[in-house]
Symmetry: C2
Subunit: 189 residues, 2 copies
């Protein structure tokens, strides 16, 4: 994908996340370093890094909050509800490779995030220090953040929204090689 | 890993799967091309390929059956129960990349498997042809089959059984590089 396609695909993924979150009964706010043209949610622009920006926001909140990354196009209302109703003081969905893809924090004013690196382990440690019961939600959909070419296979296989549609429009499809391995190909048209 | 280590690790993964399945209330049978030294389950040795062997067995069954791959060391009793109680006529857990990691079939004598390639899509097509309601179970644990080096990160992060213990004994641990990416390293001792 070229730069414009990447940006359009990022916007399609964000739209899918926002749509699922709204359908699950939440009111999303987009936190971004630049204004985003999505009509279904307001955007708060903050120039700081992810941790600083989120921790500034968390300190001001007075009710539970879910923090969900925008590169999770397989998000469905059902799995958002699994996160919301997992119980405990907080829930967390690890990303493949040790990141944190979703957090649901019932008392955000007591919490601080620590993204980057092995943030799943870092967040689990913070929960422990706070004496909180943290529920780890087991979801392929939410553990699949899209940052490599192979991840696109998952979108083509399991996506139901704008992101899959966008990939299809770009000419991407699933290809099975001679060894029976599943990959993707792009037909330029 | 050398050949012996690979075999021992494969046996550790199988033990973890068998233990979780037993704890979920099932009676496992191991289907293999060669005898496997696991005391907690009987082994049926069949020399045919996976599809042929399984389809021969399925035709003889008279009650529901779950087919679970042996390279799923993150299997827990909880997620096995999610598969068993998903509802519908069958449940399926896709593997990352389009494979089929788990099937639960309520009337196995009416079904046939079609592994290799994009078997998730193939099995979904078979369900549709049968007019069955198939439940897709969304699980990171069960979608994570271990066949590449990067998959070991998931075992070190989320494993709770013999497989993780075995990796730790071999000197594997999680390493975070200068870019904050999570990888694994092995310390030979």
């Amino acid at each position: 994908m070229n730069q414009t396609e990447r940006e359009d695909f990022a916007r399609a993924m964000l739209r899918d996340v926002v749509a699922a979150v709204i359908q699950a009964g939440c009111e999303p706010t987009i936190l971004s370093t630049h204004p985003f043209g999505i009509e279904s949610a307001r955007t708060v622009v903050m120039k700081e890094g992810l941790n600083e920006a989120l921790n500034t926001v968390l300190a001001t909140l007075k009710e539970p909050v879910m923090i969900i990354m925008s590169d999770l196009p397989l998000t469905t209302p059902e799995v958002v509800r699994r996160v919301l109703f997992a119980g405990g003081d907080a829930s967390i969905v690890p990303g493949r490779g040790g990141g944190t893809n979703v957090l649901f924090i019932k008392r955000p004013w007591e919490f601080h995030v620590d993204y980057y690196g092995s943030s799943f382990l870092d967040h689990m440690r913070i929960f422990k220090e706070l004496g909180w019961e943290a529920m780890v939600v087991d979801s392929h959909r939410l553990s699949t953040d899209i940052d490599e070419k192979e991840d696109l296979v998952e979108v083509l296989l399991h996506g139901t929204g704008k992101s899959r549609e966008y990939l299809n429009n770009l000419g991407f499809s699933i290809e099975i090689d001679a060894m029976g391995r599943v990959g993707i190909r792009r037909e330029f048209r």
